[in-house]
C-alpha cells in the first residue's frame, strides 16, 4: 500500500514552475521574435537631421521596450487562460501553487525580456557603427555595464508592470467572462480619450506619467514592484476559492 506523502509548498511551486517553463517555451521564442522585429524597426526608423556641416543620427531602443511590454500584457493574460488552468490542474497542485508558479513564470519572463532588451539595444548600435565608420559618436553610444544593467532593469520593470496588468485582467475574466469585453472597451475608450483630451485631464496619461516620468530608478522600481504586487495579490485573492475542472 502506498503511503501518503506530504509535499512542501516551495517544492510544489518549483515543480509547477519548471513544468510551465518547459510547456511555454514558445512564449520566449515569441518574445525574441518580437524583439528582433522591434530592433529591425528601430534601425530602419533611426532619425536623421542634416545640416550644412554635419548629419545627426539619433537612435532609440524605445520600440523594443514598447513591443516587449505588449508581449508582457499578452503573456500575463494568456497564463491565466482556461486552457492553462486545465493543464495546471491535471497534475498535482492547488490554487496557491498554481498562482505562485504563474507569478514566478511571469517574473522569469520579464527578467529574460529585460536582459534581451538590453542586449538588443547594444546590438542596435552595431549596424550603425559599421555603416557610419569614422563618424563621431556622442551621448551614450558606447554602453557601459552600468548602462546595460539600467536598461535591463527598466525594461524588466515595465514588462512586469504590464504583465501584472495582463494577469489581473485575465483573473477578472476568470471571475466573470464579461470582463473579456469590458477591459478592451475601457482601454479603447481611454486611448480615444487620450487623443481627444488635454494631457492634464487624462487618467490614462496620468497613470502612465506616474510611473514613466519618475527620475529615480530606485523609486521607479518601488512603484512598479508595489503596483505589480498589488495586482497579483488582488488577482489571486479573487480567484483563490474558484472551482476548477468543472
Amino acid at each position: 500500500m502506498f503511503s501518503v506523502i506530504n509535499k512542501p509548498l516551495p517544492k510544489a511551486v518549483l515543480n509547477q514552475f519548471i513544468y510551465k517553463l518547459k510547456a511555454n517555451s514558445g512564449y520566449f521564442c515569441g518574445l525574441i521574435f518580437v524583439q528582433i522585429f522591434a530592433t529591425w524597426l528601430s534601425i530602419g526608423g533611426a532619425s536623421e537631421v542634416a545640416n550644412f556641416s554635419f548629419t545627426l543620427h539619433t537612435l532609440s531602443g524605445l520600440i523594443i521596450i514598447i513591443l516587449s511590454v505588449a508581449w508582457a500584457i499578452f503573456a500575463g493574460a494568456a497564463i491565466t487562460s482556461q486552457n492553462h488552468r486545465k493543464v495546471s490542474f491535471t497534475v498535482a497542485g492547488n490554487r496557491l501553487t498554481n498562482n505562485l508558479s504563474d507569478i514566478v513564470f511571469i517574473f522569469f519572463g520579464c527578467l529574460f525580456g529585460g536582459i534581451t532588451t538590453s542586449l538588443l539595444s547594444v546590438a542596435l548600435r552595431v549596424p550603425i557603427y559599421f555603416s557610419q565608420m569614422g563618424k563621431v559618436y556622442i551621448n551614450g553610444f558606447y554602453v557601459t555595464f552600468a548602462d546595460f544593467l539600467r536598461v535591463a532593469t527598466v525594461a524588466m520593470l515595465c514588462m512586469l508592470l504590464a504583465a501584472s496588468f495582463g494577469y489581473f485582467s485575465g483573473k477578472l475574466a476568470q471571475l466573470n467572462p464579461i470582463f473579456i469585453v469590458i477591459i478592451p472597451a475601457v482601454a479603447v475608450f481611454l486611448y480615444a480619450n487620450m487623443i481627444n483630451m488635454s494631457q492634464a485631464h487624462n487618467l490614462f496619461i496620468e497613470i502612465w506619467s506616474y510611473f514613466i516620468r519618475e527620475k529615480s530608478l530606485c523609486i521607479f522600481s518601488i512603484k512598479c514592484i508595489v503596483a505589480a504586487a498589488v495586482l497579483f495579490l488582488i488577482g489571486n485573492l479573487i480567484t483563490n476559492r474558484l472551482e476548477v475542472r468543472k
Binding site: M1, F2, S3, V4, I5, N6, K7, L9, A12, N15, I18, Y19, K22, A23, N24, S25, G26, N83, K86, V87, F89, T90, V91, A92, G93, N94, R95, L96, T97, N240, R241, E243, V244, R245, K246
Partner: protein
C-alpha cells in the same frame, strides 16, 4: 474517504444531494450510476476541484477542496485531462515523476509501446479512444495512494477496455492503492471491483461488496398469480410482464430454504440476478420502462 450529508448544488439543482458514505483504503470501488446520477460531481468533490455546498467530506483525514496534500496524493483521470500542447507523449510521461513521486516510468513506457503509440505524437492530436488509453496509462503508472478514474474507457474499443481492466488489476495486485472508478459498464467490471457504490439522483442507493451484489437479489419467473402471491409484503425491485399472464419479478434474496423449496414446487423459476442488472433495477425510473413510451401507439 468519508462524507456525511454531502451536498453540491449547481443553480437550483442538487447534483449531490446528501451523500453519507465511507470508501475504504486499499480497495477498488466502482461508482455506478446512470447518466446525471452525480458520479462526476462526487468524484470532483473528492478530488478537491469542487467545493461542497454543505456537509462534511474528508480525504486522507483532510478537507480536499484546495488541499495541496490531497492533490499530491491523488490523480484524477478523465477525458478532460490536459497536457501542454508543446509536449510529445514521451515528454509528458517524463514530466510526471516531477509530480508523482512513485510514478513508474518503466511501466508507462512499456504500456505506451504495447498500445502502439508513436511517442513523438502530441496528446491533442490523439483520437478519443487513444487519448483515453493514454490517460489511463498515466493514471495507473502514477501509483498514487488515491487513483480516481471517471469514465476512463470513453471511446475505447472492447479490446482496449479489456486491456485497461487487466492492466489496472495486475498493477493493483502488485501495488495496492485506493481506486475509485466510475462507469455505467458494470458488466465489464465484474471481475475487477471489490466494492460497488450505487448512486442515483445524487444520493447513495446501496454500497456493498461485489460478492454481496451477486447474491443480493433473485428473479422469479412464472404465472402471474403464483408469482404475485409469493412476493406479498416484499419490495419488488423490478416487475415485467414478458408475455400475457407471465411475470418476471425481482426481489431481495432473503428467502428461507423452505420458501425456496416451496417456490420451486409451485413451478416458478428462481433465477440469479447479475450485479449489472441489479444496478439497473435499483435505479430504474418509475415510469414503466421504455416500453411505456410506445404503449399508446
Amino acid at each position: 474517504m468519508e462524507s456525511s450529508e454531502l451536498k453540491k448544488r449547481f443553480g437550483s439543482k442538487y447534483a449531490v444531494g446528501g451523500m453519507t458514505v465511507e470508501i475504504g483504503e486499499g480497495r477498488i470501488t466502482g461508482l455506478i450510476g446512470r447518466n446525471g446520477a452525480g458520479k462526476t460531481t462526487l468524484l470532483k468533490l473528492i478530488a478537491g476541484y469542487l467545493k461542497p455546498t454543505s456537509g462534511v467530506l474528508t480525504v486522507f483525514g483532510q478537507v480536499p477542496f484546495n488541499s495541496l496534500q490531497v492533490s499530491s496524493n491523488m490523480i484524477f483521470v478523465d477525458e478532460n485531462m490536459a497536457f501542454p500542447a508543446a509536449f510529445t507523449l514521451r515528454e509528458i510521461l517524463h514530466e510526471m515523476p516531477r509530480f508523482y513521486k512513485k510514478f513508474d516510468l518503466g511501466l508507462a513506457e512499456k504500456l505506451l509501446d504495447y498500445h502502439s503509440f508513436d511517442e513523438k505524437q502530441h496528446h491533442t492530436r490523439l483520437s478519443k479512444g487513444m487519448r483515453s488509453t493514454f490517460n489511463t496509462i498515466v493514471g495507473i503508472s502514477a501509483h498514487c495512494p488515491l487513483t480516481i478514474f471517471d469514465e476512463p474507457t470513453l471511446g475505447m474499443d472492447t479490446s482496449a477496455r479489456k486491456d485497461f481492466y487487466r492492466t489496472l488489476l495486475k498493477d493493483y495486485i502488485a501495488c495496492s492503492r485506493t481506486v475509485i472508478l466510475s462507469s455505467h459498464l458494470l458488466g465489464e467490471l465484474s471481475g475487477l471491483l471489490e466494492d460497488i457504490l450505487l448512486i442515483d439522483a445524487g444520493r447513495k442507493v446501496i454500497h456493498f461488496t461485489s460478492d454481496e451484489a451477486a447474491s443480493y437479489a433473485v428473479a422469479l419467473r412464472g404465472k402471474r398469480e403464483a408469482v404475485e402471491a409469493l412476493v406479498v409484503g416484499r419490495q419488488v425491485l423490478h416487475r415485467e410482464e414478458f408475455a400475457p399472464g407471465e411475470m418476471f419479478l425481482v426481489v431481495q434474496n432473503n428467502f428461507t430454504q423452505e420458501e425456496t423449496v416451496h417456490i420451486k414446487e409451485a413451478g416458478i423459476e428462481l433465477l440469479p440476478v447479475t450485479a449489472d442488472d441489479l444496478c439497473i433495477y435499483l435505479t430504474e425510473k418509475d415510469k414503466g420502462g421504455i416500453d411505456s413510451v410506445f404503449s399508446d401507439k
